[in-house]
């Protein structure tokens, strides 16, 4: 089980790094990249499950999951980037904090 634990810890560390990046960088692109790192952690762990001691065969399920997950993450990232671009177009910067065109808020 030690291999599994190593993978588990690695994935948690990757997840945490991603999270740290998400919360510490104000720039939106960096935030999105950080999210992908978080996702990377999760995928890494999943793919590590494909070969485990229970049976000699390689379990196809984790691979299917990771493939699906990557597709989902790609589309989500694309959507997030799209929104970021709109924000950049409108405010001229890639930040979440300012919204100058709404004086009443």
């Amino acid at each position: 089980m030690t291999t599994l634990l190593i993978y588990a810890f690695t994935s948690i560390i990757l997840f945490s790094i991603g999270l740290f990046g998400l919360v510490s960088h104000p720039n939106l692109i960096r935030k999105i990249v950080s999210l992908n790192i978080m996702g990377g952690g999760a995928f890494l762990f999943l793919i590590s499950l494909a070969y485990h001691g229970r049976s000699p065969d390689i379990d196809p399920v984790p691979q299917a999951m990771v493939l699906t997950g990557i597709v989902v993450t790609i589309s989500a990232t694309a959507f997030a980037l799209c929104l970021t671009r709109r924000i950049r177009e409108k405010t001229g910067q890639c930040l979440l904090e300012h919204c100058p065109d709404k004086p009443e808020t």
Binding site: S16, L19, F20, L22, V23, S24
Partner: protein, 550 residues
């Protein structure tokens, strides 16, 4: 038309009172809390005197000159008050009695303030305060009395109360509650203010009839003639005698004849209270005291209304020729009757009273004081006559009114003759010279004292008045003061006193600082770093808790 009816209204009651056999009364099952009307144990006497007085006063008013714009409201309240007074006499149960008593009390207020002058207003205010306090005491007393009895009929109440310990609260409330109405010493101070300020017929009924309601109340509720309550009897007797002297002492320094008459009422009611006290001290004495009391009541009611009406007549300036002398002479008749001069009902009453007093405890002392009180009454009456003579004339009266008054005087004169019709066993023959003398000398003494020592007597009275505190003034001040205190008390008007919790909580929620802090906190919560910390922290805590739970 209405005015005519006003005079005729008491006639049915009068007719009932004169009719030989007392009617069986009626039970009004649906009315109030099961009312019973009829003649109570003391009914016919009181009914007679009440209806007679009201009849005369009503007639007097009706025949008078009608130039008063407010006369309609006077009529209404006069009749309402009469309804209360006659009703309470006819009541045979506590609740109807109390009801009529209250009706009388509150309607009489409007008679007192009828003239609308400042003096009347003040008198009315003090009357009302005292009356309300009295009503309050009474309702408590009546409730307790009814509670201790099998029913609310008087026939049950008095025997039931007789079984109570003497110190019981119910006696105190009833004593004080009716005492206020009866003008008992210490509770009397509204009376000299209120009685004189009313229009004359109203003053007459106030002093002659309504004041007796208090006495009737005592007689109905206290187990007089059934049980002996030495201490309560003494209280009645002592306060009664005290009142008899006080009324005179205080009245002697007054100038207004009507005020003097009011003080005289206090004095006379004192005698009646004394008489009642005798009956309470010892149940056996009541047999003797009761006739004395009835005669006192008769005498006082008739004389007092005659005096009030006479005063008004003396005050008027045009009616018939040479009236002044006539009026003064005739006015002397009720005055003498009140003082107890021989051949009058007053003398008869006092003799009977003395007889009763002699057979009771402390007989010598009581006898002495009673005799002295006659002297005092004469003094006051003389003083009254003097003030009437020097009266200023300002009002009008009609011949009809004078005729009514004349009839009243005649009735007073005939009272000693018909008194044996009412109470046969107490016939007094004026041929006995000792009797004649004993009733004549106090009157003569009083006359002499007044003639020679008038100034000293008046000065003494003034001094006496100065010694005693003016309770009415205190009452007045107390009312204003407490009103102002309650109205302007800081606590009650403050936001705490108003106890509007909604305002508190709203202030708490909407306060600037609360809002600022919470907004700031909300802003902090939405910071990315805070989010990250919470995110990690909660994952770890949940995981650890889950591990711990396993």
């Amino acid at each position: 038309m209405g005015r005519g009816l006003m005079a005729l209204a008491p006639l049915p009651a009068l007719f009932l009172a004169i009719k030989e056999d007392p009617s069986p009364g009626i039970e009004l099952g649906d009315f109030l809390l099961k009312s019973s009307l009829g003649f109570g144990p003391f009914g016919s006497t009181f009914l007679l005197i009440t209806s007679l007085t009201w009849f005369i006063s009503g007639l007097y008013w009706t025949l008078g000159p009608q130039n008063n714009a407010k006369s309609r409201s006077f009529c209404v309240f006069f009749l309402l008050t009469m309804c209360g007074n006659i009703g309470l006499v006819a009541a045979r149960d506590a609740i109807s009695f109390y009801t009529f008593f209250a009706v009388m009390t509150f309607c009489a207020f409007s008679l007192i303030v009828h003239t609308g002058k400042d003096l009347a207003r003040r008198a009315g205010r003090i009357y009302l305060i005292m009356a309300v306090v009295g009503e309050g005491l009474l309702i408590a007393g009546v409730m307790m009395a009814v509670f201790f009895s099998p029913s609310h009929y008087f026939t049950d109440i008095a025997p039931a109360l007789a079984r109570l310990p003497e110190t019981h609260f119910v006696f105190l409330t009833l004593f004080a509650g009716f005492g206020i109405k009866a003008g008992l010493l210490l509770l009397h101070f509204w009376l000299p203010l209120a009685h004189p300020v009313a229009p004359t017929p109203a003053s007459a009924v106030l002093s002659a009839a309504m004041i007796k309601a208090g006495l009737l109340g005592w007689m109905n509720f206290f187990p007089v003639g059934i049980a002996s309550f030495g201490s309560w009897g003494s209280v009645f007797a002592v306060l009664g005698l005290g009142g008899a002297f006080f009324g005179v002492m205080a009245g002697l320094s007054e100038k207004d004849p009507k005020v003097i008459l009011a003080y005289s009422s206090i004095s006379q009611m004192g005698l009646m209270a004394f008489c009642f006290g005798l009956g309470i001290i010892d149940e056996s004495l009541w047999i003797m005291a009761a006739p004395a009391m009835y005669l006192l009541i008769f005498n006082h009611a008739l004389s007092k209304s005659a005096l009030f009406l006479g005063t008004a007549l003396a005050r008027s300036d045009r009616a018939w020729p040479r009236k002044d002398v006539l009026i003064i002479i005739m006015l002397a008749v009720p005055a003498l009757a009140l003082a107890g001069a021989p051949f009058t009902g007053g003398a008869q009453a006092k003799l009977l009273l003395k007889e009763a007093a002699v057979s009771g405890p402390l007989n010598e002392t009581f006898l002495f004081f009673l005799t002295i009180s006659s002297v005092f009454t004469t003094l006051l009456m003389t003083h009254f006559m003097k003030q009437v003579i020097s009266i200023k004339k300002k009002s009008e009266s009609s011949l009809g009114q004078a005729m009514v008054w004349l009839m009243l005087i005649i009735t007073i004169l005939t009272l000693p003759l018909i008194s044996h019709l009412l109470y046969q066993e107490n016939r007094i023959t004026w041929t006995d010279s000792g009797l004649l003398f004993s009733s004549a000398w106090p009157v003569i003494a009083g006359l002499i004292i007044y003639l020679f020592l008038r100034r000293q007597v008046e000065r003494m009275s003034a001094m006496f008045r100065q010694i005693l505190p003016d309770a009415a003034l205190i009452m007045d001040k107390l009312w204003y003061h407490s009103n102002a205190r309650i109205r302007q008390h800081g606590f009650l008007e403050s936001s705490w006193g108003q106890m509007n919790f909604a305002r508190f909580s709203e202030r708490l929620l909407q306060r600037e600082s609360t809002q600022r802090i919470s907004r700031e906190l909300e802003l902090r919560l939405s910071a990315w770093s805070v989010f990250g910390i919470f995110f990690m922290l909660l994952i770890i805590i949940f995981s650890l808790f889950a591990l711990w739970g396993m």
